[in-house]
């Protein structure tokens, strides 16, 4: 049995996950929590948010995110991939900045208009 705190929403439910019983989750108050409990112990993932350079614009950075959660082990590889990016305006929310970043299947997309 592993105790977790769900990060699905600000409520922060205290979950108990039973590894020996097909990762059955108790303590969740919604379906998201039940899914999180299982995936957190088998294949933990996070959405990565960061910024990339923008040529000659103000502000100097454009905020971005992965449009799906990526494996925790790939977070720093995603950050490194972002170092090489330089956008030029105009940028629209949702524009793909890197497709299938580091082979995770997730795209890095812009989260602000510039």
């Amino acid at each position: 049995m592993t105790e977790l705190i769900c990060i699905g929403c600000p409520k922060g439910c205290h979950l108990q996950v039973d590894e020996e019983n097909n990762y059955e989750v108790s303590g969740a108050s919604c379906e998201k929590g039940a899914a999180y409990g299982k995936i957190e112990l088998t294949d933990p993932r996070r959405v990565v948010t960061s910024t990339v350079r923008v040529k000659g614009a103000s502000p100097a950075r454009c905020s971005v995110k992965t449009n799906a959660a990526v494996p925790k082990g790939d977070i720093f590889a995603v950050m490194k991939a972002l170092d090489a990016v330089e956008l030029s305006s105009p940028v629209k929310i949702g524009d793909i900045v890197i497709a299938n970043v580091c082979g995770t299947g997730a795209d890095v997309v812009a989260t602000r208009n510039i």
Binding site: L4, I5, C6, I7, G8, C9, P10, G12, H14, R46, V47, V48, T49, S50, T51, R53, S58, P59, A60, R61, S63, V64, K65, K72, I75, F76, M79, I93, T111, R112, N113
Partner: protein, 419 residues
């Protein structure tokens, strides 16, 4: 020309209030914003987790702001950027100044105060030591890193475990810095539990509860900070000192509603929230002047700021179009045991449609708590909660029927732990 509604501040509170005023029928609506763009603090909050209540999906700060900015652009709401408001009067005049427009005195039928809050600084908490470069508030560092593109340090200690501090611990780590510790004076974190998990635990950043910083060392730049454990009176315990070799100290030690305009206008401030005293529709004690968002009380979630600000915008439009409201009986809300404040502080029962939402915070972490609303000796409503914490704003909804039936002019909200 007289505006129906002037909104001071173009952050999430101001945007929602202006839009709702417009939707409610106000014709001439103006937003005054001192920054170069709308969106307020959301623009630098590039992490996700916003909008789960309002949009039913998880957005980053700039995306959440972007949706409201887009909606404002699709209306004829006027926006003045780079504009600093200097004074608001009870006669509903707004004095403001900008490079392009110069000094202006604008008039409105209703005003919404949505100035937000600012961070407490080193001065506010009097940390001893030298005064080197490298001591910043977490929000300042967040703006440097996320918007201007400057890294603030390589080896970092964070004082305070509020949400901004926790978010910045992760952010600095992702950008290649080493975050040595997050130090919290209280025996519990001031931030949301999910942020402890995904910002500290994910990156093995230690959280020292019941600790504070007792010395900052360094000549030109921070070289070391010294932390120590504190006793139950929050006094440092000699002999428990730990020294961290670091170049940067980030402070996440609380937010203060930014109410200079409110105070100068002679509007009553609640000492507990450090924001204006407000009624159920977010009107202040001055008729026609409303307040919403972090300038009233510091929120944890922008979604709740939006909801509150919509209430303020709606009421401001009604006030501008129809004049003052006849609210009927006024009930003053008082905080009883374990409750630190309530918003609204006053409820005019005649203005409550079906339910009046009441927001409050507790002063300690509690499991299995019972929230009671007392009319004199009588408990007129009670609510159960599995978990309450000072870092998490709580809300209850009081039905109008109950408020109408209240015998006294005061209701007390108190919380106790049940076995």
């Amino acid at each position: 020309m007289i505006y129906d509604v002037i909104v001071i501040g173009g952050g999430p509170a101001g945007l929602a209030a202006a839009l709702e005023a417009k939707n409610e029928g106000a014709e001439k609506v103006l937003i005054l914003e001192r920054d170069r763009e709308l969106g307020g603090i959301l623009n630098q909050c590039i992490h996700n987790g916003f909008g789960l209540h309002h949009f039913k999906e998880e957005l980053t700060g700039p995306e959440y702001a972007g949706r409201f900015i887009e909606m404002v652009k699709n209306t004829d709401i006027e926006v003045s950027l780079d504009t600093m408001v200097l004074e608001v009067t009870k006669e509903k005049q707004v004095h403001c100044v900008s490079k392009t427009e110069g000094y202006r005195i604008l008039e409105a039928k209703a005003i919404v105060l949505a100035m937000g809050c600012r961070e407490r600084t080193r001065g506010a908490i009097s940390i001893p030591g030298t005064r080197p470069a490298g001591v910043l508030t977490a929000g300042t560092a967040q703006r440097y890193v996320n918007m201007e593109g400057y890294m603030v340090g390589k080896r970092i200690v964070i004082l305070g475990s509020g949400d901004i501090g926790l978010i910045m611990a992760r952010r600095m780590t992702l950008e290649g810095a080493k975050v040595l510790a997050c130090i919290e004076l209280m025996p519990y974190s001031g931030g949301l539990t999910r942020n402890i998990v995904q910002c500290l635990h994910d990156y093995d950043i230690p959280l020292y509860l019941s600790h504070t910083i007792v010395d900052i060392k360094g000549d030109k730049r921070v070289e070391q900070v010294v932390a120590a454990r504190v006793d139950e009176n929050r006094r440092p315990i000699p002999g428990t000192e730990m020294t961290f070799d670091c170049d940067t100290l980030l402070l996440s030690v609380g937010l203060i509603p930014e109410n200079e305009l409110t105070k100068n206008a002679g509007i009553e401030i609640d000492k507990r929230t450090k924001g204006a005293v407000v009624y159920e529709n977010m009107q202040t004690e001055t008729e026609g002047i409303f307040a919403c968002g972090n300038v009233v009380h510091v929120h944890d979630l922008v979604d709740f700021v939006t909801a509150e600000s919509q209430r303020a915008g709606r009421a401001a439009a009604r006030c501008a179009l129809a004049g003052g409201v006849d609210g009927g009986k006024t009930i003053t809300m008082k905080n009883g045991s374990a409750v630190t404040y309530t918003v609204p502080q006053k409820i005019r029962t005649g203005n409550v449609e079906k339910l009046c939402e009441l927001f409050f915070r507790v002063n300690k972490v509690m499991q299995k708590a019972e929230i009671e609303v007392l009319d004199g000796e009588n408990v007129i409503a009670h609510f159960k909660r599995e978990h309450l914490a000072p870092g998490e704003m709580e809300k209850i909804a009081l039905p109008r029927m109950l408020l109408d039936k209240a015998a006294g002019s005061e209701l007390v909200v108190s919380v106790r732990e049940v076995e």
